[in-house]
């Protein structure tokens, strides 16, 4: 479809901006489920789960990243994503992720671990598992 309405997207991490520009569609996943944002979307604020972040810039160009936990805000056709980590899929290191995975699983299984420690390990696993899946699938 020619002449699709675009909106601006800013992807920020603590280590700097990863993307800042106009896109046709943004898709990722919130704690509630998959979300797709187009121009003129109603204002939204959402907690993001680790997912494949996809920005459709035009019919022929789509950019993708492995995205960790974060927050999304959409206001007046301007989307802001604050994400802990963002990597292109080829930057992911499967071997390193494997070792992080077994570390997190050990913490989860450790009977000494308290409730908060298990929750933290689960959160880590969510991210590590997604990154691993993407790294292997690449």
């Amino acid at each position: 479809m020619a002449g699709e309405t675009k909106f601006t997207v800013e992807v920020l991490t603590p280590e700097g901006a990863v993307f800042n520009g106009e896109v046709v569609q943004l898709s990722t996943r919130t704690v509630v489920g998959e979300i797709g944002i187009l121009a003129n979307h109603v204002p939204v604020m959402a907690a993001l789960k680790p997912n494949l972040l996809r920005l459709k810039i035009s019919d022929s160009e789509t950019r993708e990243w492995a995205q960790a936990h974060g927050v999304l805000q959409v206001f007046a056709s301007h989307a802001q994503l604050l994400v802990e980590e963002v990597h292109t899929v080829d930057q992911l290191d499967a071997a390193l992720l494997e070792s992080q995975k077994s570390d997190a699983e050990a913490r989860l299984a450790d009977p000494e671990s308290g409730e908060a420690s298990k929750e933290a390990a689960e959160r880590d696993l969510e991210r590590i598992n997604l990154f691993l899946e993407l790294a292997r699938g690449a």
């Binding site: 603590p14 901006a17 204002p43 007046a76 604050l82 308290g114």
Partner: protein, 311 residues
């Protein structure tokens, strides 16, 4: 008086020192610039985060069920996180942190509290181990180039310790960065997270207009400002998932400032070491000239003496 060869050797070894310290100064200066850039990169993220949190807090009305916001009435176990460097040769950078940490420990012990140490950097780790302190958590190997994932790992450990009751409060001691020449030891309460820091007054000043994050304007913005927001999950729950990030963000900032301070301190220390070497070379060169002159004088005397004896 030393002979010529000895003085010559000393001069060349001091020259080597001057060269090495100069090189280290330049390396530190280059890294310092990068560390400053990283601090600048964090700013837009931190600001946007504050703005979002504030909006969610206004919507939610109350902030509840966030254990890391709960102030404990009685602090029995005080957690102290020392942020030091992996390497020395940076003036009093590491020593200052350690001194302040031990002072805080003595004070806490005098008040009948238990002290739980956490430490970043090999220097602090080594010093505490040497003093036979039990270290609850130690992170090393990244102090001159910390990543956000390092901060998240530390934040997770501190938060877990706080929620599970291993500590009732966590104080961080680090070198605050002002400029390459100025750093000072600063103490920060990391846990519980100060509510004022997150949603209170004073936040507005930090989100002020410096052009970094431009709020959209126009018809749509006005319409959206009046319309309902979708919150996923609801604002209160959202707030509970966002607030723990504050620990990671402020730890990351702390690590970045400490890294910049370390490099600044090293740069300054190496510059004065190079200057000292310079002075020493001047002195030794004078000494060298004196020795050479003495030798020449000696030789002339010998020749004259010999000629007189023959005559």
């Amino acid at each position: 008086m030393a002979n010529r060869k000895e003085v010559n050797n000393r001069i060349s070894s001091v020259k080597n020192i001057r060269q090495i310290t100069r090189a280290m100064e330049m390396v530190a200066a280059a890294r310092l610039r990068r560390a400053e850039n990283r601090i600048a990169h964090l700013r837009p993220y931190a600001k946007a985060m504050r703005r979002m949190t504030r909006r969610a807090a206004e919507e939610a009305g109350t902030v509840q069920n966030v254990p890391i916001l709960d102030e404990r009435e009685v602090v029995n176990k005080l957690g102290i996180l020392l942020v030091t460097g992996d390497r020395g040769l940076a003036g009093a950078f590491n020593a200052n942190i350690l001194r302040e940490g031990l002072r805080l420990r003595d004070q806490a012990l005098a008040d009948g509290k238990e002290v739980v140490f956490f430490v970043v950097g090999r220097r602090g780790d080594g010093a505490l181990t040497f003093r036979k302190q039990t270290i609850h958590g130690s992170w090393t190997g990244f102090t001159d180039r910390p990543a956000f994932t390092d901060a998240r790992e530390i934040g997770e450990a501190l938060t877990v310790a706080y929620i599970d009751g291993d500590v009732d409060r966590v104080e961080v001691i680090y070198n605050r960065y002002v400029s390459p020449l100025t750093q000072y030891v600063h103490r920060l309460t990391m846990l519980p997270v100060q509510e004022a820091e997150v949603v209170g007054e004073g936040v507005e000043a930090l989100t002020g207009a410096d052009g970094e994050l431009v709020e959209p304007e126009g018809e749509l913005a006005e319409a959206h400002a009046r319309s309902y927001w979708d919150y996923e999950p609801d604002a209160e729950e959202l707030l509970a998932t966002v607030i723990p990030d504050y620990v990671d963000i402020s730890l990351y900032r702390t690590l970045l400032e400490s890294a910049a301070s370390e490099l600044g301190a090293r740069m300054t220390a190496m510059r004065s070491a190079a200057e000292n070497a310079e002075t020493m070379i001047d002195d030794l060169t004078l000494e060298m000239n004196r020795v050479r002159q003495a030798e020449i004088t000696q030789e002339i005397l010998e020749v004259v003496g010999g000629a007189e004896a023959l005559g």
